[in-house]
């Protein structure tokens, strides 16, 4: 039998020194931004009852890590934060004054596809805004997403906004059945014009409506595309969705954030708990979105309380990869000091070391004590700025590195 004790399971990673430092730095920046904008941090358990996520097919069972508790009940490693937050909102936040703003940073686990920066264990940082359904709330959460991305140091990015009601509305008008709708949804999600055409050709649909459905894979870009659509052709549901997007965009314009957003009416990914505005964030250097979010007004209901909500989460590992590829990681300051000393100056060396640390300068005593060459090698490997030697009489000799 092969022994696995020196390996890590697929899709999980050790994160060592410099990468770990960069990751914490990034998390700190995000956490600070969330807090400044009024989102209070919460922690949720790493493990939950499987039922929390399986209700109504919220999350595919094959993408969850599952195991049992001591009573034989099924548990899951949390595959996301939004669902646990919905559980908390329904059961524990009953006395909070609206709007409830909370945020989280933590690891999630899922067996989704690997590669291109996607892991089975990954860190998500996100915000949830509960208790309001209004364009202001939708704009607020998108603004928060933009500010968080800005805080990470990425400057070229784009947030795409869609509205699930637009596609749903069009489909209701078209009279296609459930399977066909799913077929069309997949094709639109892949921007596959040919596929959409093939399905639509099998049906008699009002020609204006059909034209818009066929055009859906192309309906993305600047807000001009909203002008291209005649509201009379698309039915009430879809028209309301467009009005909703327009209102949200206007608010973002007033907040000077319009430059970061564009529209994608063909955004129809299958995250089945979304009910209104949805959005995704993209940047150069990584092939996958760095953030995604949207309105989920019926999710909290599953846990026994009617509560409207919206939120987003940012993939910390993905952002880190983007920063690295865009060469925007900030290297560690070279300011550390290694203190070597004569045996008789041990007390003085200890005092000096504490003094430096009290000033916020990283300092280490040379505990190796194998001579200048070895000490120097160590100091260089740690990226220190200098070695300070303390002589027996208390005088110091500084060697810059």
């Amino acid at each position: 039998m092969k022994r696995w004790n020196i390996y890590t399971p697929e899709g999980v990673q050790d994160i060592l020194f410099e990468s770990c430092r960069q990751k914490r730095l990034l998390e700190d920046k995000i956490r600070k931004t969330f807090r400044l904008y009024g989102y209070r941090e919460i922690e949720t358990p790493t493990i939950e009852f499987y039922d929390v996520f399986s209700e109504n097919g919220l999350i595919k069972q094959e993408s969850m890590y599952k195991f049992c508790d001591s009573k034989g009940r099924l548990l899951a490693l949390r595959p996301d934060f939004t669902v646990p937050v919905a559980r908390i909102a329904a059961t524990k936040l009953k006395d909070e004054v609206f709007p409830i703003k909370c945020c989280y940073i933590g690891n999630t686990f899922s067996f989704d596809e690997l590669g291109g920066g996607r892991q089975n264990e990954f860190t998500q940082a996100g915000c949830e805004l509960l208790g309001i359904n209004s364009p202001e709330a939708d704009a607020e959460i998108i603004a928060m997403a933009i500010e968080a991305l800005k805080a990470t140091g990425i400057d070229e990015f784009q947030i795409d906004i869609g509205q699930v009601g637009f596609f749903k509305g069009l489909m209701e008008e078209s009279g296609l059945d459930g399977n066909e709708i799913e077929e069309v949804r997949e094709f639109i999600d892949q921007k596959n014009l040919v596929g959409v055409e093939q399905v639509m050709d099998r049906h008699k649909v009002k020609s204006e409506l059909k034209k818009i459905i066929l055009d859906l894979p192309r309906l993305f870009g600047s807000k001009d595309i909203l002008q291209k659509i005649n509201y009379g052709d698309i039915g009430k549901g879809a028209a309301n969705a467009l009005v909703n997007i327009k209102e949200v965009l206007e608010i973002l314009e007033d907040r000077n954030l319009a430059g970061y957003v564009s529209i994608d009416l063909g955004m129809v990914q299958s995250m089945n708990y979304y009910t209104g505005i949805v959005f995704r964030g993209y940047t150069h250097g990584v092939g996958f979105p760095v953030l995604s979010g949207g309105r989920y007004d019926r999710l909290v209901t599953l846990f026994g309380r009617d509560l409207e909500a919206t939120g987003f989460s940012l993939g910390v590992n993905m952002v880190l990869m983007a920063l690295e590829r865009q060469k925007k990681l900030i290297p560690e300051k070279q300011e550390g000091v290694l203190i070597t000393y004569d045996d008789r100056a041990r007390r003085l060396a200890g005092d000096y070391c504490r003094e430096l640390i009290a000033q916020g300068i990283p300092a280490e005593l040379d505990i190796l004590k194998e001579g200048t060459g070895k000490s120097r090698e160590y100091a260089v490997s740690k990226g220190f700025s200098r070695i300070v030697h303390i002589n027996a009489d208390g005088t110091k000799k500084e060697i810059m590195l």
């Binding site: 590669g115 291109g116 070229e156 795409d160 092939g287 979105p289």
Partner: protein
């Protein structure tokens, strides 16, 4: 300006792909030089190309290592990657089919099929699971799939059929068509957004030639 990277399938799709790109005003001379360089460029338009094994093209594009790819629909189906499929280029046309001995013609519903030989295990698995709701044993082969039913390795095969001649000469026939296949242009989901103008223009320039 950033480079836009295009991944082309090495093999039967290469030449026609290049024709389309040239038709769109892209300088492919370096590509046609048969040089040993792996990555070739059109400096004027800031476009880079590379040739990859067809099955790898969707991978490069999904990960964003290439922004655009040209690849057969058969490969896209088999790889099942998360991409934008923006154009049917219309060449390299054929059909993905279930084929088997003549005796099975019209009797697909009656006999139970247990073994399927194919170069496209994912396509075959999905077809039998969704369309026929059957669990079959998929036997992955690397070539000459037609042999399998002849020597009793499997009852049927799933394979690309262009003219059907090979099947006919071996006493096999098409039992069901899974889908039509041709060369497609695919785009990475992020690139489509971040480089919308340049990529949309390229798509239009190629669409015009169809």
């Amino acid at each position: 300006m950033r480079y836009i990277t295009i991944a082309l399938s090495k093999g039967r799709l290469t030449e026609l792909s290049i024709d389309f790109l040239e038709g769109a005003g892209i300088d492919c001379s370096e590509l046609k030089d048969n040089s040993r360089k792996l990555i070739l460029t059109d400096e004027k338009n800031k476009i880079r190309f590379f040739l990859a094994k067809p099955a790898d093209v969707p991978v490069y594009v999904e990960y964003g290592a290439a922004d655009i790819g040209i690849v057969g629909k058969d490969t896209l189906l088999e790889e099942g990657r998360d991409l934008y499929e923006v154009l049917d280029l219309g060449f390299a046309k054929c059909r993905m089919c279930v084929a088997g001995p003549k005796e099975l013609e019209g009797k697909m519903e009656l006999v139970s099929i247990t073994r399927v030989a194919t170069k496209y295990p994912e396509v075959a698995r999905l077809y039998f699971r969704h369309k026929r709701r059957e669990s079959v044993e998929i036997i992955k082969l690397s070539g000459s799939v037609e042999l399998a039913p002849l020597v009793g390795l499997s009852e049927v095969i799933v394979d690309l059929v262009e003219t059907g001649r090979t099947l006919k000469e071996n006493g096999l026939t098409v039992l069901d068509t899974i889908c039509d296949v041709s060369a497609r242009m695919v785009v990475n989901r992020v690139s489509m957004k971040m480089e919308n103008h340049r990529i949309t223009k390229l798509i239009e320039d190629i669409r015009r030639q169809l």
